[in-house]
């Protein structure tokens, strides 16, 4: 029994770290503009698909990965420039609706470019399982966890310690005041969409060797990342990571100890309970309006 639970936990953490990485992307755009970007899952898909294409035209693997991440970052910035910025002044809700439209558009474009086929990327460093007691994990799982941890530290440092990070946070709390302080709000938004797309693409290329990719792979990943972000507290990058890991472990334990048929139901019930008692998430700042 103990052996089983160990495997459930390891599975939970490996799956959870992908949720965390996607959730992190949600947190960044939310931090900059208060908007939930529902195209985040599509960034994940585009990152993986671009890597598949670049690899197919004969680029060396590391170059293809880098190129794919850069392409996706560019698409993220283009999304801000051509879809979000023209609608500046629109309410947060309208902007969220624009991101939903953008997600549908990106999915459709991916369908036209890459077709309906499922694609895979090779593992970064072999497929020989690593044993931990009687439980096992893949080398790729270590890559996912390691790079997630690295990204978390970088993002944390960025928001806490750099002027630009603080400027982005200022844009979210009050656009007018930020502008008056000499912050280039447009630039900050452009940058945060680029950063979110960058993180999405990194998640995409890390995940594709384990779970494959296809034009519609972004929907579920996006949904799980979003759940992770609200569970942890929207706008708190650390919260998104904790939420992702928690969600992964809950799913795995739910499937392992109770029933795999109710895996998602168990996880989402717990999220609902958390949100009933702590509406701003586990680690979220309490939202308060000054009057």
């Amino acid at each position: 029994m103990f052996d089983q639970i160990l495997q459930f936990l390891i599975t939970g953490v490996t799956v959870g770290s992908t949720y965390a990485l996607v959730g992190l992307g949600f947190a960044i755009i939310y931090n900059a503009s208060g908007v939930v970007n529902f195209a985040q899952g599509e960034f994940v898909m585009i990152g993986a698909m671009s890597a598949v294409s670049l690899l197919a035209v004969g680029m060396p693997y590391p170059v293809a990965l880098f190129g794919a991440v850069m392409i996706t970052t560019g698409i993220g910035m283009a999304l801000q420039k051509f879809a979000i910025e023209p609608a500046r002044g629109a309410t947060v809700i309208s902007t969220i609706i624009i991101t939903i439209g953008a997600a549908i558009f990106l999915r459709g474009a991916a369908l036209l470019i890459w077709g309906k086929d499922i694609h895979a990327l090779p593992s970064f460093s072999g497929e020989e399982p690593i044993s931990i007691g009687s439980a096992t994990m893949l080398p790729q799982n270590l890559w996912v966890m390691g790079i997630t941890a690295l990204m978390v530290l970088v993002v944390r440092f960025f928001f806490d310690r750099t002027l630009m990070g603080k400027a982005i946070l200022a844009c979210a709390s009050n656009v007018t005041a930020a502008q008056l302080m000499g912050i280039n709000v447009r630039m900050m938004l452009l940058f945060s969409y680029g950063l979110a797309a960058f993180l999405g693409a990194v998640a995409g290329v890390l995940l594709a060797p384990i779970a494959f990719t296809s034009y519609d792979a972004g929907i579920m990943v996006g949904l799980k990342g979003f759940s992770a972000a609200i569970l942890g507290g929207m706008g708190n990058p650390m919260g998104a990571v904790a939420g992702g890991l928690l969600l992964g472990v809950l799913e795995s334990l739910g499937a392992g100890l109770i029933s795999s048929g109710y895996k998602n139901a168990i996880a989402f019930t717990i999220i609902l309970l958390v949100l009933i008692f702590r509406p701003s998430g586990l680690f979220g700042r309490k939202a308060s309006d000054r009057v």
């Binding site: 499922i118 995940l207 579920m220 795999s260």
Partner: protein
Amino acid sequence: MVKQRLVSALATGLVAMVLAVSPLQAAEPIKIGTFLAVTGPASFLGDPELKTLQMYVDIVNADGGVLGREVELVHYDSGANPQKAVDFAKRLIQRDRVDVIVGGSASGETLAVIPEVEKAGIPFISLAGSIKIVEPVKKWVFKTPHTDRMAAAKIYEDMKARGISKVALISGDGGFDKSGRQQSLELAPEYGISIVADETYGNKDTDMTTQLTKIRATDAEAILNFGFGTGPAIVTKNVRQLGIDLPVYQSHGVASKKFIELAGDAANGVRLPAAALLVADKLPDSDPQKDVLLAYKNTYEAVHGPVSTFGGHAYDGLFIAIEAIARAGGTDKAKVRTEIENTSGFIGTGGVFNMGPDDHLGLDLDAFKMLEIQNGDWTLVN
């Protein structure tokens, strides 16, 4: 692509020339109606089906038609929408006055039009999978594709031959997966097989090691995975990752080279039932289907690219109808229906069809071949 188009243009041109000089126009044409999901979510079914029907109707006409009469195909695109399918079926029956309907890519649209077809009394050969289409038997309704139940039976037959009696079942949450799971559970006792685990996963899940860890703790002697898409490939890889040393069986849902590509080395030793069309060139020369399969494959691939079993179902439906019309000596609907029911020894792409009053499908388990994956390719078991 350009080359393909050129070939297809040439083929159409040739057919048109032959038609221009043939005396077929004299008699009233035989009208075959069809509604297929050529666009929409089930287009991977309807697209090869329509191409097959169009291609073979042209070929039949070039050969002189049926009973000296030209064959005319009347087609509507249902987009797999049952409501549209019902409208089109009504139109085919009332306005186009077709003699027989060969169509219905998806089970939903087929089941929706059955009441119309039964009311009008017109022979209808469906190209959809569900066993509910022909069970219980409906007077005017037939179908050509094999069923999930047959796939499960074929797998259990192979397990029995290997002395396996305890099976762990794992399946996805899609329609195909659920139906396969249902049939597998129902059929197991008939083969003396006990299901010791019944796990499920979401079709978009990225990791199934939790479910497989539970399976590892049971006394299962084999793992059976009914699924479609990425799920089966992830299950297969996870089985190897966990070091589970049990035979893995997959369903006909992954009978494509894509599965082998995705699962990689982990796919070695996996067994699955598949339609004979996929391994046409590997069949022994003694196999009665071999000539038909190769002819269909070569004809289709010369114009459209790789064959799929779905187009094959349309081939079978079209020729069962045409042969029945030829035997009936005309298009009297009752006579054609009786002749379709009398179909025996018809060698199609899906198998050898022997229909009867209580069997409107007419295939036995030989329709499936048991394959084992070895070094990135299929090998025939037995």
